[in-house]
């Protein structure tokens, strides 16, 4: 087996893991929420959710029919030499997993119409690249992103004078606008500063962080906790059916320094099926799955 085949096979496995098994932090948080919720329709919805991801895992079936548009986060160890052709490898993996798992074909040409049929197309899968200083491995995260929650994402180009208060207000307004549509309980990723695209990218990247983990800077950590509590105060609950504790699972925030004239806020919303999977591939061919266990 060549190294390229190893990367492709590992990615196909990651796509299958992501579609069929929730990471532990998400499944545990949903079970806990099901126990804690007191309002009947939301509690019932959470029971169905817990049953559903249980059966999906047992039967290796996608937990949701929307198996997402394929987004990859590729972190390249600076000492990892073999990344030539990575884009082609990941495209092949997306197409293969679409058949093998199977996944729903979700790549549609926005101009002339038509579904490509295999989850690949122009700029799709979308690949985010980063470097990891000093590392000798390649880390691939698969992030299949559902359309229902994606449609509720929002960008606010605030005036710097609106400050933190303006940011809080924009986030709550976004949640009100979304209601039950993004399949709550949701995870909310917020990116502040940088620029329009940077704020949204930072927001979405926050969805890769484990649930419950707080930002290392205390001001940001506090803002995460405050907004989580405020979002749950809305009472939208699971699937917008009305619930006391189940509108959001977590809020994650990061920031970039901003231009003096702008205060961009990107709000990325993830549904309860907060799917992702990560593996590290080492130079010697070793593969380490970080979010899922191989059989």
């Amino acid at each position: 087996m060549t190294f390229y085949t190893l990367i492709e096979d590992t990615t196909v496995k990651l796509l299958k893991f992501a579609a069929t098994q929730l990471p532990n932090d998400v499944s545990e948080a949903l079970k806990k929420m099901q126990e804690e919720e007191t309002i009947p329709p939301s509690k019932a919805a959470l029971s169905t959710i817990v049953d559903n991801f249980g059966i999906a895992e047992e039967t290796a079936t996608p937990m949701c029919q929307d198996t997402g548009i394929h987004i990859y986060y590729v972190n390249i160890g600076e000492n990892f030499p073999k990344v030539i052709g990575i884009e082609e490898i990941l495209r092949r993996a997306s197409a293969r997993a679409t058949k093998e798992v199977p996944l729903r074909p979700n790549a549609v040409n926005p101009i002339v119409g038509g579904n490509s049929g295999d989850n690949t197309g122009r700029h799709i899968p979308f690949i985010n690249y980063d470097f990891i200083p000093g590392a000798d491995f390649l880390e691939i995260t698969v992030f299949p992103k559902g359309g229902g929650s994606e449609n509720m994402c929002a960008l606010g180009m605030l005036k710097p004078g609106q400050g933190i208060k303006g940011i809080k207000k924009f986030v709550i307004e976004t949640i009100f606008n979304a209601g039950g549509q993004p399949c709550p309980p949701v995870v909310v990723g917020i990116g502040i500063g940088g620029g329009a695209d940077i704020a949204l990218k930072l927001g979405k990247k926050q969805l890769m962080r484990p649930l419950g983990q707080r930002h290392p800077e205390p001001e940001i950590a506090k803002l995460e906790e405050e907004l989580l509590e405020a979002i749950n105060m809305t009472g939208f609950g699971s699937m917008g059916l009305g619930g006391e504790v189940s509108t959001a699972l977590d809020v994650k925030i990061d920031y970039a320094h901003r231009h003096p004239a702008s205060l961009p806020v990107g709000v990325a919303i993830q549904c309860w099926a907060a799917r992702k999977s990560t593996a590290r591939i080492y130079q010697d061919g070793r593969v380490e799955f970080l979010t899922h266990k191989e059989d």
Binding site: P40, P41, A44, A45, T48, I49, D51, N52, I55, A56, T59, T61, P62, M63, C64, Q65, D66, T67, P102, L103, R104, P105, N106, V108, G114, N115, G117, G146, G147, G148, N151, K165, K168, K169, I172, F176, G179, G180, Q181, C183, E226, L227, E229, A230, M233, T234, G235, F236, G237, S238, M239, G240, L241, G242, C271, W272, A273
Partner: protein, 201 residues
């Protein structure tokens, strides 16, 4: 909260028993239609063309399933609901034209559809979003498929279902919407949320 079991065709009398918060299970025939199938059906009806099946008394499911072809038989792998508000622009006309009395989706629908449901006696029911495997369990087989040129998520799947649910009645024939009630409640909490965050709305 009352539980009902219906077999298609479901009548206007049947759906008028329902109030928001009730739960129903459907046995019989359900067909899927998302944005493009709604659009095509209405365009064809306008031209006076007939539908591939008679929609009257059936339940329309806002769903784009994951499917697999085994031999020459289609199999539904995962089939949870999609966001229903996208169909708000079509639904009034759809209910009126085709006599569909039960809509299955997620997230609720807007004021225009709520009004149409009161006028033409139809209910909106919510299946838990993303609970695709639980949904697939209630689907016994694919009876027919039409309009495959729209792609497998968007085409018209005609499904034989058994005890398909639980479906929570979100909009009834009396103009009540569970989703609107929840949104109104949330709106009332806004000052309290503002105070908590130190902001005003």
């Amino acid at each position: 909260m009352v539980e009902y079991h219906f077999t298609t065709p479901i009548t206007k009398e049947d759906v008028q028993k329902l109030r928001i918060g009730d739960v129903i299970y459907v046995t019989g025939t359900v067909f899927t239609a998302r944005d493009e199938a709604h659009e095509r059906a209405l365009e064809m009806a306008e031209k006076g063309e007939s539908m591939p099946i008679n929609f009257e008394g059936l339940a329309v499911y806002h769903c784009g399933p994951v499917v697999r072809k085994v031999g020459d038989q289609w199999e539904i792998v995962a089939a949870g609901p999609t966001t229903s508000t996208r169909m708000d622009i079509f639904e009034e006309e759809f209910i009126k034209t085709f006599g569909v009395n039960v809509i299955i989706g997620k997230g609720g629908m807007g004021a225009r559809t709520v009004k149409a449901m009161q006028e033409y006696k139809a209910v909106y029911t919510a299946f838990v979003g993303g609970a695709a495997v639980v949904a697939a369990k209630g689907i016994k087989r694919v009876k027919e498929v039409h309009w495959l040129d729209l792609g497998t998520p968007e085409c018209l799947w005609v499904l034989e279902v058994e005890k398909f649910g639980p479906l929570i009645v979100g909009i009834d024939t009396y103009g009540d919407s569970l989703f609107q009630n929840v949104a109104d409640q949330a709106q009332k909490k806004l000052p309290q949320i503002g105070e908590f965050l130190g902001i005003t709305f």
